[in-house]
């Protein structure tokens, strides 16, 4: 069987998700045995437009990027969105809540007209996306799981239950009991509740589960002392592109 040809691309992002791929360390070498990586700008000079699977990191933040993404979509058999920026719009959507002209002026002053920008959006707002690997950054094991599934010809099984499940299994004290608040009850699991485990709280970086009970989450946050503004802020941090945050 011929090895599948794999390419990596990035748009507006911190490139941390591609770095997570490199961070597979020894396992990356195993991946390299199973697939042919034909494009990975962050790590290699080789480049090819002939690939089966495209992993695409980053959000779309300007009209001119749409063409490049559409080109990738046209070449790729399978397109996988890599990380929150690509799957949700992620952190980059925070700017959507300011007037775009104001944003440009704020950062680039009277030279603002040189800098094209429009409200940030996830890949699937521009082209169809086959699979999503959520997270900011992505979880290395989940990336490996998706690669393995694609190699075996199966659809990767991406969780649709909230972070609380993994958080309880990790035997964490719920942060609400510690006087903090948490997006875990509406956020898609798969990270092993890593933030709570590390003493923080769930920021919501993996996006919402398919059917989040946003009303109840708002109520829970409100009973724990968050103002309406803060609650919106919590939803907007990562899922600003989704309806519940608007």
């Amino acid at each position: 069987m011929e090895k599948p040809r794999v390419a990596f691309f990035d748009f507006a992002s911190c490139e941390g998700c591609q770095l997570q791929v490199i961070n597979l360390e020894e396992d990356l070498l195993k991946v390299l045995e199973a697939v042919d990586v034909v494009t990975f700008r962050e790590a290699m000079k080789e480049h090819s437009d002939n690939y089966d699977i495209a992993f695409v990191e980053g959000a779309i933040t300007r009209k001119s990027d749409e063409e490049r993404l559409k080109g990738i979509r046209a070449n790729a058999g399978v397109l996988v969105a890599l990380g929150s920026c690509a799957t949700l719009g992620g952190i980059t959507c925070l700017k959507n809540f300011h007037d775009q002209e104001y944003v440009r002026k704020l950062v680039y002053g009277d030279k603002a007209s040189h800098y094209e920008t429009y409200p940030s959006r996830p890949l699937n707002a521009v082209v169809p996306v086959d699979f999503k690997i959520h997270g900011c950054p992505i979880n290395r094991d989940e990336f490996a799981m998706v690669v393995k599934a694609l190699l075996l010809g199966k659809n990767p099984e991406i969780n649709n239950f909230p972070v609380c499940v993994e958080c309880k299994m990790a035997e964490n004290i719920c942060v609400f009991e510690k006087g903090m608040t948490c997006m875990g009850p509406v956020t898609r699991a798969g990270c092993g509740a890593c933030c709570v485990t590390e003493g923080s709280f769930c920021w919501g970086c993996r996006g919402l589960v398919d059917d989040p009970n946003a009303d109840s989450q708002r109520e829970v946050l409100a009973t724990h002392g968050l103002s309406v503004q803060d609650i919106l802020g919590s939803f907007r941090l990562y899922t600003g592109f989704s309806e519940v945050a608007k």
Partner: protein, 342 residues
């Protein structure tokens, strides 16, 4: 009933002896709560906890467990993985023992499940009577203040010493080999009854406003009660109530493959009936599509369905679900009392 006595001053020695000879798992503090974990020194072991975050079911039905190991090549052997390393589980409250007893029956009934049963067999269970009651516990009302089986030894903290009830021969041997014992007198036995009823009395502050044996009947007439909808509208479908519950045992099965794509494992992991996709099938059909139907299912399972199988309610009153549920709708006491009110 056979009772023995261990002086508090001799207790550390006993625990140390166990540590020297066995893998010992017990209760440890964590961030102001308690969890079960491995005990490496006597002072780590905590016996005066109110309730742990997750019940000891994790030792018999681990959150994630490999069932089979296989190679992807045709004809290769498939090897079941069955864990039966002996270990001591030190510090299990009677309500959790009651839950373990229920699980034992579930996993032995019909087609027995050796993955569970062997682990269970490998464990020596040392129970301990509660010295404190968690805010949402109601085990006393669930008839789980004491248990008569399911433990090898049962400790009761009597202040200066522990009284140890011997549950099995395995327990007796362990005790005789590793502890400095004194015989317990009938006065000690009487005192133990008193201490137990005192703590049980504290726990009784929470409970049902009606006899709990009426619960199955109550549910039979409550299928269409408005409460399911009303309460479940707040449900986050977070599955917390399932995960923490000592009597919940549903699981999912998945194949995991190594990166070499040549070897793999079939694993099972905890699942929960409150989670959205629990009853969803490949066609897209979801047999419990609404939050309310999933929410109701859990209470029916605890109070009715499993009753038909176990002849007992599948809730032992630990209150873990109640304290873990953020919108506070998972508490059996609140829900059943509300249902009763109508």
């Amino acid at each position: 009933m056979e009772l023995q006595l261990i002086e508090k001053s001799d207790h550390d020695l006993f625990v140390q002896n166990l540590i020297n000879n066995y893998q010992v798992e017990g209760v440890k503090p964590k961030d102001g709560s308690f969890i079960y974990g491995s005990i490496k020194a006597p002072e780590e072991l905590c016996l005066d906890f109110d309730c742990t975050l997750i019940s000891p079911k994790k030792y018999f039905l681990p959150p994630k467990e490999a069932l089979l190991q296989f190679a992807l090549t045709p004809d290769s052997e498939i090897t079941p993985l069955i864990e039966n390393d002996p270990f001591i589980l030190f510090g299990v409250h009677p309500y959790d023992i009651k839950a373990i007893n229920q699980m034992d029956r579930i996993f032995a009934r019909g087609v027995p499940d050796p993955h569970y049963l062997q682990r269970r067999e490998a464990a020596l269970v040392i129970g301990v009577d509660p010295t404190a009651v968690a805010p949402r516990s109601f085990w006393a009302d669930m008839g789980a203040s004491t248990v008569s089986e399911g433990f090898d030894l049962m400790f009761t903290d009597m202040g200066e010493h522990f009284i140890v009830e011997i549950g099995t021969n395995r327990g007796r041997n362990l005790l005789e080999e590793h502890a400095k014992l004194k015989p317990a007198t009938t006065d000690d036995a009487r005192e133990r009854v008193r201490i137990r009823s005192r703590i049980s009395h504290i726990c009784k502050k929470r409970g049902f406003a009606f006899p709990k044996r009426d619960i199955p009947k109550l549910l039979e007439h409550s299928w269409n009660n408005f409460l399911w909808e009303e309460q479940a509208s707040k449900c986050l479908s977070c599955g917390t109530c399932n995960i923490v519950c000592p009597t919940c045992y549903c699981f999912d099965v998945e194949d995991h493959v190594d990166l070499d794509l040549a070897h793999g494992e079939r694993i099972r992991r905890w699942d929960g009936c409150l989670l959205q996709d629990f009853a969803a099938v490949a066609t897209g059909e979801n047999f419990r599509e609404t939050r309310a139907s999933r929410y109701r299912h859990r209470f029916f399972r605890k109070g009715h369905y499993l009753f038909e199988i176990l002849d007992d309610l599948a809730c032992v009153g630990c209150g873990r679900c109640a304290s873990g549920c953020l919108p506070d709708i998972a508490d059996p006491v609140n829900l059943f009392n509300k249902l009763k009110e109508g």
